[in-house]
Symmetry: C2
Subunit: 204 residues, 2 copies
DNA sequence: AACGATACGGAACCGTGTTCCGCTTTGCCA
DNA sequence: TGGCAAAGCGGAACACGGTTCCGTATCGTT
């Protein structure tokens, strides 16, 4: 996703503990400033905030933004990486702690919906068909589809839900339902996601 | 939606049968050419095709586009007006012909989904949060929400579905599920809409 | 035929994302 | 400590989209 400078041959002491090539101090400082500024701007103005605004908030030029994040989508991914990661890791936890697999599934999907509706326009960005946000979409899919698949599989095996819906579709559907959930008081994405999950259940 | 020239005081013979103020011949010709060209371009390149392309296809300048359709959204509305109208009128028909109200509801929603997924990016345009397409959104809501409400009401009265979902939400949900339905073979909007409708049913 | 109202065309403007390149800063080495 | 190449920076410039503006062409009436 990110193309950091290729770690050239160097003498010891120029790579940090994690083996990352060490960049100039100002570069690291700016990258952190950008992440912080972007997070703040996203909260205030949504994920679709102009790159120029983010650059200004971080006190750098637009060129610097693009040096660190090849594209807007990469910046967005970087900002939300932790939360997506947390969501991914919560999958097995739900499965272990819930009374039964369907409860784990609904619990996890709820958490996913939270992630989406909490961040202004994140769902919309995920859905933008423009190649603009492909990287964002790809990251979410890569990270979350397998997690969802395990939950779905467990519930299906337990005979709680139909077995003919795959994780990608469900996740896309849920993501779609969350688009525009903020900014429209008449619309309650959580409600509709609930109905969708209910539609998954096998009638007894 | 459209701001046609105000019908000034005129002598007889300058208003047509429908009482519309009669505009210059070239104006009427261009408007029709634009509608035809837009329809063709939308099929070929999706609803998001640039205004310049549509103008070029119609053989007019961009200024002419904006004279006839104050905004891109108005042009889109005009192009799809007939089909939205047909969909709206189909509501009562389904209700009259289906075996029971829930079947009428699913039949009608199916038709609505067809409308959305058939036209490249129509659903996405409907959902664009940009004020850009507000007019489009408003038109769909105005025309279809009442129709959907009647179907929902009939099914709820018959005890087939829960009574606590309103037409606006359902329509938005269905519309959202249709976003990006073309251009992604792994995603089947119709399928998910089916699940959502299934989630509406009361367990017996 | 002349003339005023109507309509046209497309250059120009604004707001986006993204690229490019001359200049600055950093950090190594002598 | 001073010099210097590489790394990084800033922001003007470009591409592209919607929309506006206004001088010019066309229409239809007198």
């Amino acid at each position: 996703m990110f193309r950091f400078a290729n770690p050239e041959e160097r003498t010891d002491g120029v790579t940090d503990a994690t083996g990352q090539a060490r960049r100039r101090a100002d570069a690291r400082r700016n990258q952190q400033a950008l992440l912080d500024a972007a997070a703040a701007v996203f909260v205030a103005a949504g994920v679709e905030a102009p790159v120029r605004d983010i650059a200004a908030a971080a006190g750098v030029g637009v060129g610097t933004v693009y040096r660190h994040f090849p594209t807007r989508a990469d910046l967005v991914v970087a900002v939300y990486r932790h939360q997506v990661e947390a969501c991914a890791e919560a999958g097995p936890t739900h499965l272990a702690e819930a009374a039964h697999p369907y409860a784990a599934l609904t619990g996890w999907v709820d958490q996913f919906v939270d992630l989406l509706v909490t961040k202004h326009g994140l769902a919309a960005a995920l859905r933008a068909d423009s190649a603009q946000f492909d990287a964002l979409h790809a990251y979410f899919v890569d990270r979350l589809v397998p997690v969802c698949a395990r939950l779905l599989d467990a519930a299906a095996t337990a005979g709680e839900i139909r077995a003919d819906v795959d994780a990608y579709q469900l996740l896309r559907g849920v993501g779609n339902l969350c688009v525009g959930a903020d900014s429209d008081p008449r619309y309650d994405a959580r409600r509709l996601v609930g109905l969708l999950l209910d539609g998954l259940r096998l009638r007894t």
